[in-house]
């Protein structure tokens, strides 16, 4: 048994590909716990960052600087009464949130946090991701319909129309990135998520900079489409609270509502992961071609530790700024202890053996985190699009642009293969 567990550790494959069920389970557990924590962190971060953008403080009461707020929120949601409208279609109403959550979480099966840090590596990875995430539309449509009320119905119609139409532009952008993976000796591309990152590694170039500006435009199309896909500002028409109160989940409450909430944030992380994988080099560290060599590798592997030490320093700094009143003593101590924990993690991450293994995950998460920050930033800055404008943007701007980029990329790739590397 122990040997079976240990046999995987030296493997250079994902546990799924190696067929090691124990490690598959471990990875599933780790990724899903990580996701839950990430979503909680994200809700806290969103409230804090947005608050600071809007000259307010955000949550401050539950824990130091509201750090325990997500826990309080989730407890509240779990304890709330679960209301089902009398006229609702009970079965569909009941199953809709589960479909959405299932779709949002299943996607993470193929997301590569590192060359071996994925549950499994499918050879249709990206297709699988797009397919499964498109299933969440079903859940939304069903939720809106089953509520048997006008606002959720309109919300559901809007969001499903939006998601279906932006999927087209998104797909085109993705295809142009996949085309770039085929620029190797055999001339065959790959749909595998790990394969895509390895192609970027082999070509010494992130696809966002490939065939400048084609990669950049494709990335831009995807970046716009992914916000629309996740129904976030400025494309959050489905849940435009000023018009439709809350869109398709107006009638949901308590635990079931929290499932929608969870899946929204999970989907955000998922599509950001796709963007990172396809265009931003996945787990690869920045400047792989400019600053290459073992010295630079060593230097960049220090970053995870530095990041955690920085967070620890922030905690200590804020702990010293806490009010000196006895009532705040526990909070101050809590913040300091949190800082110590972060600092210890940071120190552990400085051990070369650890840092070399973990830095893939760190870079991947850091890039995804950047996208998450952008999500918050957009929400703080932009007004909301109107539905027809949104459709216009999807069909009349992004779709032709995506087609053009796809054709140009194909042409340039062909030329490059035929002329420069015959």
């Amino acid at each position: 048994m122990f040997a079976y567990i240990k046999s995987y550790l030296s493997s250079a494959q994902t546990p799924g590909a190696a067929g090691n069920m124990f490690w598959v389970l471990v990875y599933i557990l780790v990724i899903f716990t990580g996701l839950a924590i990430a979503v909680m962190l994200m809700t806290w971060l969103e409230r804090k960052v947005l608050a600071h953008m809007q000259v307010r403080l955000g949550p401050m009461r539950v824990g130091p600087h509201g750090l325990l707020q997500p826990i309080a929120d989730s407890l509240k949601l779990l304890l709330k009464e679960d209301i089902m409208p009398a006229e609702a279609d009970a079965f569909v109403f009941w199953i809709a949130p589960f479909i959405v959550v299932l779709a949002a979480f299943t996607v993470f099966v193929v997301i590569p946090f590192g060359p071996t840090h994925a549950i499994t590596d499918m050879n249709i990875g990206i297709l699988f991701m797009l397919g499964v995430s498109s299933l969440s539309v079903l859940g939304i449509v069903m939720a809106g319909w089953a509520s048997n009320s006008h606002y959720p119905l309109i919300g559901a119609l809007r969001s499903s129309a939006q998601m279906v139409s932006y999927e087209v532009a998104m797909g085109l952008a993705v295809v142009s990135a996949i085309l770039m993976t085929s620029l190797n000796a055999e001339g065959t591309g790959t749909l595998s998520m790990i394969g895509i990152v390895q192609a970027q590694l082999a070509q010494h170039e992130w696809f966002i900079f490939k065939f400048f500006p084609l990669g950049l435009i494709a990335f831009f199309i995807f970046a716009v489409a992914m916000i629309a896909e996740t129904n976030r500002a400025p494309f959050d028409l489905a849940e435009a609270e000023s018009e439709l109160t809350a869109g398709f989940h107006t009638e949901y409450s308590g635990f079931r509502w929290s499932l929608f909430f969870l899946s929204e944030y999970t989907a955000m992380i998922a599509v950001s992961s796709i963007a990172v994988t396809l265009w931003l080099g996945g787990w690869l560290r920045p400047f792989p071609n400019l600053l290459s060599g073992p010295t630079w590798d060593r230097a960049f592997s220090l970053f995870p530790g530095i990041a955690f030490l920085f967070l620890a320093a922030m905690c200590f700094f804020n702990a010293t700024r806490m009010p000196k009143h006895p009532l705040f003593r526990i909070q101050t101590i809590g913040l300091a202890v949190f800082g110590i924990v972060l600092g210890l993690i940071g120190l552990i991450l400085f051990i070369p053996a650890v840092s070399m293994r973990v830095q893939d995950i760190f870079w991947f998460s850091a890039k995804v985190g950047g996208f998450m920050y952008l999500y918050i930033w957009y929400r703080g800055t932009f007004p909301r699009y109107r539905f027809d404008q949104l459709m216009q943007m999807g069909w009349k701007v992004l779709l032709p642009l995506g087609l053009g980029v796809l054709i140009l990329t194909a042409g340039v790739a062909l030329l490059q293969q035929k002329l420069w590397h015959p």
Partner: protein
């Protein structure tokens, strides 16, 4: 990846497909029918996966479960369900139905008994990762003409739908 308990999963998925298919036609509520259809399609996609056709499976999910079924639901949601439930569900063309069913069953039986040779004894060894390329080669090589014809047909259908839907252009 080594196949795991293939017959079990085959029968499981087929069973789900059959149950789903029956539910599609027996449910009175059209939304429930659509749900059953989605289940059927997903089970079908899984069977494609078992046949080492992951690309087809993925496309099945994206296009049918994610795309077409959403459009189905779109239309169904706009239909007033109360009225549908009051309507008679099956039309009583028993004779035609029985004849068609018998014919189809006969065909299946004929293929199964006479044409055993056309099925290989064992699954052909095929590299999983080549599947997508194989389809691309076939589609854009051998069946190029059929493919283009199909896309042209779809274009005509789109234009027709627009013309019919729009009162004035």
């Amino acid at each position: 990846m080594a196949p795991v308990a293939t017959p079990f999963f085959f029968y499981l998925l087929s069973g789900i497909m059959l149950i789903g298919g029956v539910l599609v036609i027996t449910r009175k509520n059209p939304v429930h029918s659509a749900l059953a259809l989605i289940v059927t399609l997903l089970a079908q996609a899984s069977i494609y996966l078992m046949l080492y056709a992951p690309f087809v499976a993925g496309v099945q999910i994206i296009l049918y479960a994610g795309g077409i079924m959403v459009l189905f639901l779109f239309v169904i949601m706009l239909v007033s369900v109360d009225r549908v439930q009051r309507e008679r569900q099956f039309n009583s063309q028993w004779v035609v139905g029985i004849i068609a069913a018998t014919a189809l069953g006969g065909l299946f039986m004929a293929v199964y008994t006479k044409g055993k040779d056309i099925f290989p004894e064992h699954a052909l060894p095929m590299v999983e990762s080549d599947n997508t390329q194989q389809i691309a080669m076939k589609l854009y090589g051998q069946y190029m003409f059929a493919f283009e014809i199909a896309s042209l047909l779809l274009l005509v259908a789109i234009i027709g739908a627009v013309v019919m839907a729009k009162k004035r252009i």
